[in-house]
């Protein structure tokens, strides 16, 4: 076709001046874009285009309103004046295709700043400069990119600065909600003015690409190839990491809802049609964030002075340390993450040791820059287990996916726990007592919320099950003994021993008919299927 030969000839002469990444692929894309744009132009009614340009709508928004799709958007630096003239030309002849292509390729070869003519709106009345790649960053500096790929390059730079190790990404764009109002204003204005014209019925009542989607379409391909070096579609599947680009202030969902609920005639009353010109662009904030990495395992607590999570009252720490700080503090720096969240399947008091198989836990590392290998994870485990004060140990540490959550939460309430308690009673232990205690199987007890937690929990009566109990005598003592028991999750063991003013019934005290006190408690097994040794 004649148009193609035109373009390639021009390109051949001016190769040195090509702005975008100088690969053959890029040139082909440009040719393709130019062609699509050329095909779209004839369908735009010139008087409308002129009108829209005069009220300050940018070229890409005009394309959007007319339902032009695909890569026409990314046609580099499409000047409004070009659009206008080619649209006018197209009224008559087929040569418009040639005209627009050569003009487009001229712009391709010209690296110099954008020419601003009178018709050129500085910032579009609808998209506020977003689709023109004009925005302000912090400190009010105005930034203007001349093409979609240049914009993509600047985004890719920001990502590389963070130093993430990723395999895929997803792009999230949020735009100020006033844009919705602007677009609606323009549409209603056009309806009022051109509603009777035939093309209006055809073109305007179809769905329009939103500003958000248009922006994404514009940069997602080049962003993909810049970050991963390939142009394949696979890299667009959102998996490990996320970026988001936010224009202006946070989107106001309330604004959107009220806008949706506003009928057209009321809208016309409250908003000016067409919207006024703007002389300030949006502010763009860029956020590059990786989806959290989960590391799971089981922890053991050997100290009676270590809480599970950080516990600080009035600026004073309770206990010597906390499990979450010991584990999180040793994992997060190795992954170059920002922060961590600690989740465990249940908890124990500060003065209760966690022994035996350990308690399942999950560390959620936020914005990790590196994904650890199996070897690295083993090293983490050894590091924690070899800390000098040996307060906490971990087992079966490994990176888990999202299923880690479900594994932990699944049946948390049904799982059984085993304990060893050091009990003292006010009279000597008899043989009979051992038999009595061992004879209970799946005993039901009623526990009122213990007084020590009643200030922050609802006053309820909870039925719990003690699956089995066993006494371990201690040689040399007649009143001290070890009580081994297996109970339903959520049972308060301390209250089961001393009775909590009779609010837990039955209790060891009531079963043995004397006063019983608990001195020490250890959790010896958390019977859950997750994070077990393979």
């Amino acid at each position: 076709m004649s148009s193609y030969t035109e373009v390639s000839q021009v390109n051949g002469d001016e190769e040195a001046h090509v702005v975008a990444a100088s690969e053959a692929a890029q040139v082909d894309t440009n040719k393709k874009e130019a062609q699509v744009t050329a095909e779209a132009i004839p369908s735009l009614p010139p008087h409308v285009v002129k009108d829209l340009l005069s009220i300050g709508v940018c070229v890409r928004c005009i394309f959007r309103l007319f339902g032009v799709r695909g890569c026409a958007y990314s046609c580099l630096s499409l000047l409004p004046s070009d659009l206008l003239s080619s649209v006018e030309e197209s009224k008559g002849s087929h040569d418009c295709a040639v005209g627009i292509c050569s003009k487009a390729s001229e712009n391709l070869n010209c690296a110099l700043p954008f020419q601003e003519s009178e018709d050129e709106p500085v910032f579009c009345s609808i998209c506020l400069g977003i689709l023109q790649f004009s925005y302000s960053k912090e400190k009010e500096t105005l930034v203007k990119k001349y093409s979609a790929s240049e914009f993509a390059v600047s985004i890719a730079e920001l990502v590389k600065q963070e130093g993430h190790q990723i395999e895929s990404f997803s792009l999230e764009v949020s735009v100020p909600p006033i844009i919705l109002a602007n677009e609606r204003a323009i549409l209603l204005y056009m309806k009022r003015k051109y509603g009777s014209e035939p093309w209006f019925q055809e073109k305007f009542l179809t769905e329009h690409t939103s500003v958000k989607d248009a922006l994404k379409l514009l940069i997602i391909d080049s962003l993909g190839s810049l970050l991963f070096g390939t142009g394949s579609e696979d890299s667009l599947i959102a998996l490990d990491s996320e970026f988001s680009e936010q224009s202006a202030c946070e989107a106001d969902a309330v604004f959107r809802r009220s806008l949706d609920g506003l009928p057209d005639h009321l809208f016309c009353e409250r908003f000016t049609l067409p919207p006024e010109r703007v002389n300030q662009p949006c502010h763009m904030a860029f956020l590059c964030y990786r989806t959290p990495i989960y590391i799971g395992g089981r922890y053991l607590k050997y100290s009676r002075n270590v809480s599970q999570s950080r516990w600080i009252i009035d600026d004073e720490r309770m206990g010597q340390a906390s499990v979450e700080e010991i584990i999180g503090g040793n994992i997060v720096p190795l992954l170059r993450g920002d922060d961590y969240k600690f989740h465990a399947a249940g908890r124990e008091d500060i003065d209760v040791r966690m022994l035996g198989s350990g308690r399942p836990f999950l560390i959620e590392v936020q914005n990790a820059r590196d994904v650890p290998s199996c070897v690295a994870v083993k090293q983490m485990e050894q590091k924690i287990n070899n800390l000098e004060d040996r307060l906490v140990a971990v087992k079966n540490l490994k990176v888990v996916g999202n299923q880690g959550w479900n594994l932990m939460r699944e049946g948390e309430a049904e799982k059984q726990k085993q304990y060893a308690a050091l009990v003292w009673i006010s009279r000597p232990l008899e043989e009979e007592d051992l038999q009595t205690i061992s004879s209970f199987k799946d005993m039901r007890i009623l526990q009122r919320t213990p007084i020590r937690v009643l200030h922050r929990r609802s006053p309820l009566e909870r039925e719990k099950i003690i699956h089995w109990m066993k006494v371990g005598r201690i040689t040399g003592s007649s009143q001290y003994f070890l009580l081994y028991l297996c109970t339903q999750a959520g049972t308060y063991i301390k209250e089961f021993v001393h009775g909590d003013f009779g609010r837990t019934h039955p209790s060891i005290g009531s079963i043995l008919g004397c006063r019983a006190e608990i001195l020490q408690l250890d959790v010896t097994d958390v019977k859950m299927d997750c994070f077990l040794t393979e």
Partner: protein
């Protein structure tokens, strides 16, 4: 002392067990380690340990509260909750003759208040001299007062059916 119910009988396995596989060995090694951790050193333990009340509450006494020999205790927990009850020297407990406990005093029946939720909705505000309940012996009745200003969360309704608990285990059967 060691009987078959004793936990630690696994060490008495007789003679040769050549075929014990390694995971079983590992498991019994783990159990042995666990056992060693769990069993205490008697030398570290007191002959008589402090009671749960002594260990977790600050014990206050209000002797002759509003009337002679009306001795009550207040056990205050670190979280601010208090357990109010009759001290052993209370006149009602002399002769161990408590026959009935009645919570229907003042304007409402204290045993019928239902306090719900974390915010303790419906809890009634009481002053120090507000009546909690009435304790009856065979020949007299005594009003038990709140002694502290606060909200009533719960009463010991077991005392309605078993007032004799006050006679036997007054220190651990609070109101």
């Amino acid at each position: 002392m060691d009987d078959s119910d004793n936990y630690n009988n696994k060490n008495d396995t007789p003679s040769a067990s050549f075929c014990v596989n390694s995971s079983e060995q590992e498991r019994s090694k783990e159990e042995q380690e666990l056992h060693e951790l769990v069993v205490p050193n008697l030398r570290d333990l007191p002959v008589t340990p402090p009671s749960a009340v002594e260990a977790n509450f600050v014990c206050y006494f209000a002797p002759d509260f509003m009337k002679p020999a009306h001795d009550q205790y207040i056990y205050r927990h670190a979280n601010g909750l208090c357990v109010i009850g009759l001290a052993p020297t209370h006149v009602a407990l002399k002769e161990k003759g408590v026959t009935a406990v009645d919570f229907n005093v003042g304007k409402s029946n204290r045993s019928e208040i239902k306090v719900t939720g974390k915010r303790k909705k419906n809890a009634q505000h009481f002053e120090a001299n507000t009546a909690l309940c009435k304790v009856c012996t065979s020949d007299a009745s005594y009003i038990v007062r709140c002694c502290v200003k606060g909200s009533l969360l719960e009463v010991n309704d077991r005392l309605i059916d078993q007032p004799g608990l006050l006679n036997s285990s007054f220190c651990i059967t609070g109101a």
